[in-house]
Symmetry: C2
Subunit: 119 residues, 2 copies
């Protein structure tokens, strides 16, 4: 079995760094294919291909204006990734909690040492 197609879901679509760059660029607002290609330094066909993948998984929407195709970020798609990653949130928070608890413990030890040295 081969790897899942890039169009199978948002996770596969954003695995490609160039497509993440497109999404980041589109936070500035709607852009044409050529604007995207120029800004990110790739050739027009590559821009079209990547945009098509993003469109298929719903990460962008497209509208036509004369010859131009204007692509716009569809944030709902990225929210899927956000929601999934957020389900792990308590795990890294717990880690930070444990680290903070450890640091506080160190401080208490330091203080105890200081007061012990007093007499």
């Amino acid at each position: 079995m081969a790897r899942s197609p890039t169009t199978s879901d948002v996770f596969n679509a954003v695995a490609e760094v160039q497509r993440r760059r497109i999404l980041e660029l589109l936070t500035e607002g709607e852009k044409s294919v050529n604007q995207i290609a120029e800004a990110l330094q790739f050739r027009q066909p590559q821009a079209s291909k990547h945009l098509n993948v993003l469109k298929e998984v719903g990460l962008v929407t497209m509208r036509s204006d004369a010859q131009q195709r204007l692509y716009r970020l569809n944030p709902e798609g990225i929210k899927q990734i956000y929601d999934w990653s957020k389900t792990f949130e308590r795990h890294w928070n717990e880690r930070i909690d444990r680290l903070e608890a450890y640091l506080e413990e160190l401080q208490r030890e330091e203080q105890r040492k200081d007061t012990d040295e007093q007499p």
Copy 2:
């Protein structure tokens, strides 16, 4: 040029749905390779291979206990994905704001119609 290796970063690593399932399972706590394989219904070699990818990108850590290899979730890796997706947060919030504004506008229109019908 081919697709980036699955070990190139966390985004490529979690593109595979089976690896996401492993991460979700590991939220329950540290587990051995066989426990993971059994819980997720894949064969031992596949479990080992997926776990190795996750380890290489830092999404899990491993420790040895006799013959067993115990894998544990490393949430920092998922936080990278969370942080990236979170930079788009204002976009889906704005969308919801616009939707709410639109719904309120509809309601006001309904009310205006109702009062117009009164006389």
